[in-house]
Amino acid sequence: MRHEFIAKLCELAARDPRIMLLTADLGFSVVEPFAQAYPDRFVNVGVAEQNMIGLATGLAEAGLLPFCYSIATFATLRPYEFIRNGPIAHELPVRIIGVGGGFDYGTGGSTHHSLEDIAVMRALAGMMVLAPIDGPQAAAALERVWSAPSPVYFRLGKDSPRVAISGGQFELGRAQTMRRGAGVLLISTGALVAETMTAAEALASGGVQATVLSVPCLAPAPLADLRTALADANAVLTIEAHQQAGGLGSLVAEVLAEAGLARPFRRLAATQPGAGRGGSAAWLMERSGLTAGRIASAARELLLLSRHEPDSVDHSTHP
């Protein structure tokens, strides 16, 4: 996903001399094609994420289009106030590329896990928040928004899923229906959509049909698409490589509540193991229940529960 993104950025940079790539000393084996093609427009600012965003603010004010590259947690959390008081407050077209959302840098440990980036970026008024599924969609999203006047946050997976499934489709403010089924609605974002699709296949082999909705564009939120899908659903499960508060599940809960839709609803989200324990991305995802098998079993449990939930609350025991 990172490589496709940078390849597209090189292509756009050939068209538009305003495009610059800034890195806070990260991107080995990823950023080189840009650095080699456009050495004058590539700046390694050193290990200084706050300054990277401050620089980008000054550059954008002068009419340039800076893309700021780092690991997702460093790109968002460390310079958060600079993002708020810089590109957001000044409404300048600074782009932030956060690589490795969720547990992608698994063995790197908790400092390298990006579990809050969607929440904090969503909290910024005017920030576009995009989490593509795969490389072709990352390139399509970049092609769509590269010259947008607002700031943009790209949450990219460190490695692309083995099989690209987006079809290279991306629409701003829209969700993408990956699969239709009447049994349960699974909603996911970013690279985890691939795992969710595998879960849907497992469910289908057990006779449960799922709709899979991908949300590659979290802000502007695909409110209309979510409302439609939620209205049609029997039960809703959200799946995200992000902490529960403020992420995709929170967004879906907000839409459900505001639309007055009562549906059996659960959120699968990432949790840190705690007590200094760590491991591979695969282990951390398994622990959080974010693998195809665990997603499928969570969906089955939710359906079972929903069948046993009474239609209305029994008030007879109350005085």
């Binding site: 610059m20 004058d40 427009r41 700046v43 600012v45 050193g46 200084a48 706050q50 300054n51 965003i53 401050g54 620089l55 980008a56 603010t57 000054g58 550059l59 954008a60 004010e61 002068a62 009419g63 340039l64 106030e81 600079f82 008081n85 810089g86 407050a89 000044h90």
Partner: protein, 271 residues
């Protein structure tokens, strides 16, 4: 042709007029930060009185100014007014409801390029602005006014290292060295006796000057041409008002009627 001579010949903005406006407006609005504003009066007099190339607020190629120490915004508003870029009525809206003039400046005001107030952001943005001018081949400069307390912020040094490494000679920083920060003297909170060496080790040309001598400040802020320049301007917070000078309380307090009358009389006696 060195363009600075023509500018140096221009009339210096009156420090006395700046001080009077600061006292009038802070009294009327009944807000503090008077000491911080009075601290930078002579620096702004030099910058807005000829040192910066300022054709009109709408000219994208004029010099940029970043008020790192955003809490001295009233001094900036007064300078913009004297420069003719801000109306008297709007200046009188300082800190009123629905005003564009708050305690910290916003870029929605003509001639204010960047909103500031959060310390440590200013030099970073200013460095980006200077880098942009170089990349775009523009012959403009970026001036940044920092407070000495702002040099406590790590991000200030991220930017200082970057500008030094990239030899951004179109970047000029003035540090308002009044030796005082929000809760006391810098000597007690974060000692800055090694400031010249710190900037110098980041690749900057360093000059020190009496920050209350506008002509000397103007002379000191002539760009170095090979390196970014920092001017460590020794100042006195609350300058010109005896009971405010070097008093931490005037970082915060508004004036009473009596204090206002005294302050006006004293500051007018000063050049």
């Amino acid at each position: 042709m060195e363009p600075d001579q023509a500018l140096a010949d221009q009339q210096i903005l009156s420090s006395r007029a700046l001080r009077k406006l600061i006292l009038e407006e802070s009294y009327r609005a009944h807000v503090g930060h008077i000491g911080s504003a009075l601290s930078v009066v002579d620096i702004l007099a030099a910058l807005y009185g000829g040192a910066m190339r300022l054709n009109s607020p709408d000219d994208p190629d004029r010099d940029r100014f970043v008020l790192g120490k955003g809490h001295a915004a009233l001094a900036l508003y007064a300078a913009l007014f004297l420069r003719g870029w801000l109306g008297r009525a709007e200046l009188a809206s300082y800190c009123a409801d629905d005003s564009r003039l708050g305690v910290h400046p916003t870029h929605h005001l003509p001639g204010v390029d960047f909103s500031t107030g959060s310390l440590g952001l200013g030099l970073s943005i200013g460095t980006g602005s200077a880098l942009a001018a170089r990349l775009l081949g523009k012959d403009r400069r970026t001036y940044v006014l920092l407070s000495d307390a702002e040099c406590n912020e790590g991000s200030t040094w991220e930017a200082a290292m970057f500008a030094g490494h990239h030899r951004l000679a179109n970047l000029i920083v003035v540090v308002d060295v009044n030796g005082q920060q929000a809760l006391g003297p810098t000597a007690e909170i974060m000692n800055q006796t090694r400031m010249p060496e710190l900037w110098s080790s980041c690749g900057w040309a360093v000059r020190e000057v009496d920050g209350h001598a506008p002509a000397a400040v103007r002379e000191a802020i002539r760009p170095h041409h090979q390196q970014p320049l920092v001017v460590l301007a020794r100042t006195i917070s609350g300058r010109g008002v005896s009971f405010m000078e070097r008093q931490v309380r005037w970082h915060y307090l508004p004036m009473s009627d009596e204090q206002y009358a005294m302050a006006l009389a004293e500051s007018e006696a000063l050049l």
